[in-house]
Symmetry: C2
Subunit: 364 residues, 2 copies
């Protein structure tokens, strides 16, 4: 076993605390990664606080992980020792189902769905009675730690020209917004609206703009209007009903990145006929949708879940090529409580990234 050190929540009411644990050594086809940086995603907080009622404790969050390959398990040949690699939300999938075979591991339909980088299988054994847990474990420990061991094919290559601390949030915030932009075929000249201007909104706006779309951000935070201008995109207060009315039937795609239950009804009229609003931030029952507005213009409300491995590699390469990336603030692990509070209050601009070198001072 491998000695590991990180930060964990021991229960839903506790803050993160130093945590010593063990990881299995890299087995066949696996690699051991020295973690350098890990992004702080709003879902880390949802999970730590058990807000989705499925958290396994202890919970070591972190699924925007960039590190350096330190050791190769037997047969692992995809990466070399010393390579910079990234691990996103998934660290494995069933590899047997139709989506996995089609390269859409993020929609894995295996009995336990995909294996999350932390908190274990998406469908834990006790929720799939009669099924064996294909991963043989009910918890995984994420990137708020000094070392990670994953199957080599679930580690993405960090392209040259992308700093590791900037690459980290691309692995979730970037991938989660890139996938629907690509799936719904965003192209130059189209108009894309981004609802919510946090870590995901920041990436969605930059990616859609780099794809040639005309981008409008909808935010409830007046102070963020200037930030949007800095990105060279339009911005509108989501509460400004007059401004919304003027944008009626003008968008080809709307992406909602708001990370909790919210009301999309004010935005549906902004879609053109036959167009789609994709919810990527929230994973709970939403406010009721007014079916009249939807049916009268055959609009769709849908959702999209993170991204496939191929899309995640694509968005890393796309960001390097277009010289875009998240706005990050580097923090030490000892600043995590304050960071969580600011994320919850919507005060982060736009993504905290933990420098795991800060763990050393904690360990000693």
């Amino acid at each position: 076993m491998l000695k590991a050190f990180g930060y964990a929540a021991q229960q839903s009411t506790r803050r993160l605390e130093p945590f010593h644990f063990e990881r299995a050594e890299a087995g066949a086809g696996e690699i051991e990664i020295e973690v350098l940086f890990c992004g702080v995603c709003h879902s880390d907080i949802h999970q730590v606080k058990d807000e989705w009622s499925n958290t396994v404790y202890p919970c070591v969050p972190g699924h925007e992980v960039v590190g350096r390959v330190r050791k190769l398990g037997s047969g692992a040949a995809r990466h070399r020792v010393g390579d910079l690699v990234g691990v996103g939300c998934m660290m494995d999938s069933c590899r047997q189902c139709a989506p996995c075979k089609a390269g859409e591991q993020n929609y894995c339909e295996g009995p336990n769905s995909w294996l999350a980088t932390y908190n274990g299988p998406m469908v834990p054994a006790e929720k799939a009675p009669g099924e064996r847990n294909v991963y043989g474990r009910d918890n995984t420990f994420g990137g708020y730690s000094d070392v990670l061991v994953v199957p080599e094919d679930f580690a993405l290559k960090i392209p040259a020209g992308l700093r590791p601390e900037v690459a980290a949030p691309i692995l979730c915030a970037g991938a989660t917004t890139y996938s629907p932009l690509k799936h719904w075929g965003v192209k130059a000249g189209q108009r894309v609206g981004v609802i919510g201007f946090g870590g995901l909104g920041d990436m969605a706006a930059k990616l859609a703009k780099a794809m040639g779309a005309q981008v409008t951000i909808f935010t409830r935070t007046e102070a963020k209007l200037a930030e949007a201008k800095r990105l060279g995109v339009d911005a509108v207060l989501g509460s400004d009903l007059k401004a919304l009315a003027a944008l009626k039937a003008s968008f080809d795609l709307l992406l909602s990145t708001v990370p909790e239950r919210h009301d999309v009804n004010p935005f549906i009229p902004l879609l053109k006929r036959d167009c789609t609003l994709v919810i990527v931030g929230a994973l709970e029952p939403m406010a009721p949708v007014n079916q009249q507005e939807v049916a009268f213009h055959r609009k769709s409300v849908t959702g999209s879940l993170i991204a496939s491995l191929a899309e995640t590699q694509e968005v890393l390469d796309f960001c390097a090529e277009h010289r875009i990336g998240p706005d990050v603030q580097i923090i030490g692990i000892d600043e995590i409580d304050e960071a969580y509070d600011k994320v919850e209050r919507g005060e982060v601009r736009f993504r905290y990234v933990i420098d795991l070198a800060s763990l050393k001072a904690q360990r000693e």
Copy 2:
């Protein structure tokens, strides 16, 4: 002016009563139709009772109208006197907007949207301030009457081999379900689920089956299970959670025909990945949709509104060709109160059609 006689609601709390009124004579490009049969749609009841808060009184319902052309306005050449024709939900549209030009009049984006066969423009003048009402009127009187005058291109041809009383419900119930089956590309071998087994559900099941799909009806009425068997389709009680669980991820398309607010969450897991649930029956805020199930398999929830003129003609011809049609019960206009009560209690099997010959006895 033309003397007309029909049944109208004078206010939301009143039942339908005999109503003498006048219609403008057929103008340029219009035709005068002697009404023979008119279907009773659940939306007639919603409208009469002002359940969508937009009813204009007096309200003469009826948008599943079949009749015989009696007179041609100047220049009208599409139909001949004596032809059997049908009029569905729309009797005109703006003819200027992109959807109208693309032949999708049912998604008309003109300032007043399309002109409903009864209750007037979909967007009445007072709801579009500053816009002129392109139709010059705020009410229209529908097919529960002895005569109708409409633009000739909004009258469909009733194909030989389709009895007029059977053709009537195809103009709304048939068209409304045919349009999404076609738009979402239902084809032989696919599996289609129909939620709700009333007038629309009956037509949806028959149409999907004729398209070669394997059809399952979901109903909350145990007594209707046998009716489905008679149609040669599967049927499941919507409340039978065990039966629903066994159908997980097996449907290519789900069509909800339930004509009021309802909960689609129990059915979303039945869709295959990337597939769609189309709501055609309800036009109000729905029960909150659980975004987790939607996002985890990139499913969509959408809506569809009646059908274009071309699709309405297509479904009439399709029904004649495949020798299918609604199960109808012919009633006299004097039986309308009892019919409404039974529709509301879900007791109709499956569509009441008024024989307008019964008006004569009322008038004399």
